[in-house]
């Protein structure tokens, strides 16, 4: 059996699944309990699990992540919500300097089984301070795992995997995907981190995408079919660990690659993929490795500009045609 649910409801279902599965899982954040989350992605959790395990915090991002870190070091498996991924900057010390380094600096004395959930990216006209896709920030930090699901089923499987993982995971929920729906099977779903999904086989070009860019990549591939270009679409699902094997094997077959990223251009994750593929697939290539990204600008608020500058289906199609010609 399966049912059609939203990406938003999948978040609550995944958290409920893990809160039920393991009594050491706790969930904290701003407006997450009584209000059910500002995106309504955590509705019903307070009612089922009570105010001890699902707890509202003040607007204190350092206090939130500090609480998660100290608790993870001493026997809990906390999940902490940072409402918008842009706000990671207000607690960046915890994200980049404390949480990822503690195990290493202590030579393995402490464990850090925690998850930072955060709503990432644009598309909702929220303006530059509530819209940036920042998955590449987290990817740059040794010691953080970085996950970004593209559909409701993966939200459950990957969030469960992140919570059960013994290392810190930053879990990027793409906020424009919250209302999108997908089929989800009944019962417990737990995936493995670091396994990409080939959503569509193809022979002319590999399109590598993540989160909100995945449905656009699939739509572009369908359009390209109409003009005789066979595109393989890979959903990376996690940036760390990175499933390079799937990408490299695919490009060795198709001989071309286009990455599609929502993060701004410079040092976006696509650059790392291009670098790896350039080194490891060079002799198989028949076209330039190409990146489609948001330009290197803060995201403007107005809908016309936001729509223009986030990578669109037509920009992906155009980029692929240029590579394949």
């Amino acid at each position: 059996m399966a049912e059609l649910i939203t990406y938003r409801d999948a978040v609550a279902r995944a958290l409920a699944q893990e809160l039920r599965h393991d009594p050491s899982v706790y969930f904290i954040g701003e407006d997450v309990a009584a209000a059910g989350g500002v995106f309504k992605a955590t509705k019903g959790l307070l009612e089922e699990f009570g105010p001890t395990r699902v707890r509202d915090t003040p607007i204190s991002e350092e206090a939130i992540l500090g609480a998660a870190m100290g608790a993870a070091m001493t026997g809990l498996r906390p999940v902490a919500e940072i409402m918008f991924s842009d706000f990671l900057a207000t607690c960046w010390d915890l994200v980049a300097v404390e949480i990822p380094k503690a195990r290493y600096m202590t030579d393995g004395q402490v464990s850090m089984p925690l998850v930072i959930r955060t709503a990432n990216g644009g598309g909702l006209r929220f303006g530059a301070q509530h819209s940036q896709a920042v998955e590449n920030w987290a990817m740059a930090i040794p010691g953080l795992k970085v996950v970004a699901p593209s559909n409701p089923r993966d939200v459950i499987g990957l969030l469960a995997a992140a919570i059960r993982d013994p290392d810190p995971v930053v879990f990027f929920e793409q906020k424009s995907l919250y209302p999108t729906k997908g089929e989800v099977p009944d019962g417990e779903i737990v995936d493995e981190l670091g396994v990409a999904a080939t959503l569509r086989p193809g022979s002319d070009v590999t399109i590598v995408a993540l989160a909100s860019m995945v449905p656009r990549a699939v739509a572009a591939a369908e359009e390209l079919d109409g003009v005789g270009i066979s595109a393989e679409v890979i959903d990376l699902r996690s940036l760390v660990p990175l499933d390079t094997a799937t990408v490299v094997a695919s490009v060795q077959r198709t001989s071309r690659m286009v990455t599609v990223e929502e993060n701004p251009r410079l040092c976006g994750w696509g650059a790392e993929i291009v670098s790896i593929v350039g080194e490891e697939c060079f002799w198989h290539l028949d076209g330039p490795l190409t990146r489609v990204t948001t330009p290197h600008i803060p995201l403007p608020s107005v809908d016309t500009l936001e729509d223009e500058f986030l990578p669109s289906v037509s920009r992906i199609v155009e980029a692929v045609q240029k590579v394949v010609q």
């Binding site: 070091m73 195990r103 600096m105 202590t106 040794p142 290392d167």
Partner: protein, 339 residues
């Protein structure tokens, strides 16, 4: 009662006397360690930087003695004393300072990141303010698990002006966490007098009321006073009474770090505080209160032997293998990020 009489007919020490001797022993051990660490830095055996607690040992000693063995310590980069005061062997701490494989962090932490989880030392944090919210997390975990453990978080006066201090105190009170925040006010934030950059006279105590906490100031150079205030705060935290914020007044004998001779401090101020050096003053008090000097001398000699052995062991230990740089990033023991 004369010393001679004690030597010939040693009387049984009361519980209080034993506790005070244990306090003195801690002060002496910490002093002995820090003096040796300073010497080894000067000899170039310790690379990087160091932040010594010389002159501030009574705070670590008082809390170390008052805490339960499973309580949590969170300290700053000035953390040698707090790490040792929880029972971490000197050899492991000295090994870490010297960058040896035998160090408590295998040489990957260094002076500023001493950690010994098996002794409740949950880390030394080198970003000002970072560990106050983290100590809350350990306290939250203890509360959730019903373990009765308390987290004690030590920090300097400079920390009271950073945001994390205020976020942490608020949350600790709202969640009634079993945590004790201890401000070691040594009057200087790094190179600047704390009074020159702080809106209130007592940087921690004057902020307590903003978080519904009592204003507590203690003489941080008096081991008895620290022990007493620690015992009260720990008991309060353990029995559901919530957090405490304690300001312990003290003074560093040296500068902020290895690079700092501390010349910005007026001579008369330094001289006045040296008069209040916790080690000789506590020694004199114990003698005055009838403790046999031989017991004190024995403590001092044992501390010397302990530091000599620890130094020897650390010097003899090898540096970490190059491969160690790739270990223990992840729980699987490695550092791989791709397949």
């Amino acid at each position: 009662m004369s010393t001679t009489e004690l030597e010939t007919t040693p009387r049984e020490l009361s519980e209080t006397e034993q506790a005070r001797l244990a306090l003195y022993q801690q002060v002496v051990r910490l002093r002995t360690f820090e003096e040796r660490a300073y010497r080894l830095f000067m000899e170039g055996l310790v690379k990087g930087t160091s932040h010594l607690s010389l002159g501030m040992e009574a705070i670590a000693a008082g809390f170390g003695e008052a805490m339960r063995s499973d309580d949590y310590t969170f300290c700053t980069y000035r953390g040698h004393a707090h790490t040792l005061a929880r029972g971490t062997p000197m050899a492991g701490v000295m090994g870490e300072l010297l960058g040896r494989a035998s160090g408590v962090c295998g040489g990957k932490g260094g002076s500023m990141h001493l950690t010994s989880v098996e002794h409740g030392v949950m880390g030394s944090y080198a970003i000002i303010g970072a560990h106050l919210p983290i100590a809350n997390g350990a306290a939250w975990s203890a509360q959730a698990r019903g373990s009765g453990q308390v987290a004690v978080c030590f920090f300097g006066d400079g920390t009271t002006n950073i945001g994390a201090f205020h976020e942490a105190l608020n949350l600790a009170k709202v969640w009634m966490l079993p945590v004790v925040f201890v401000c070691e006010n040594n009057l200087y934030m790094e190179y600047t007098a704390i009074g020159d950059v702080t809106a209130v006279e007592h940087p921690a105590a004057d902020r307590a009321s903003a978080y519904g906490l009592d204003s507590i100031i203690v003489d941080g150079n008096d081991p008895d006073a620290v022990y007493e205030v620690a015992t009260t705060a720990l008991e309060r935290a353990r029995t559901g009474g919530g957090p405490s914020l304690i300001e312990a007044k003290t003074y560093r004998h040296g500068g902020h770090s290895r690079a700092d001779p501390g010349q910005y401090r007026p001579d008369e101020e330094v001289a006045a505080w040296l008069e209040r050096d916790p080690m000789p003053t506590y020694r004199a008090r114990l003698l005055r209160d009838g403790i046999d000097e031989a017991l004190l001398t024995d403590i001092e000699q044992r501390a010397q032997a302990e530091i000599d052995a620890a130094t020897e062991a650390a010097r003899a230990a090898p540096p970490p293998e190059l491969q160690a740089a790739y270990t223990n990033l992840w729980a699987d023991g490695g550092s791989s990020w791709r397949n």
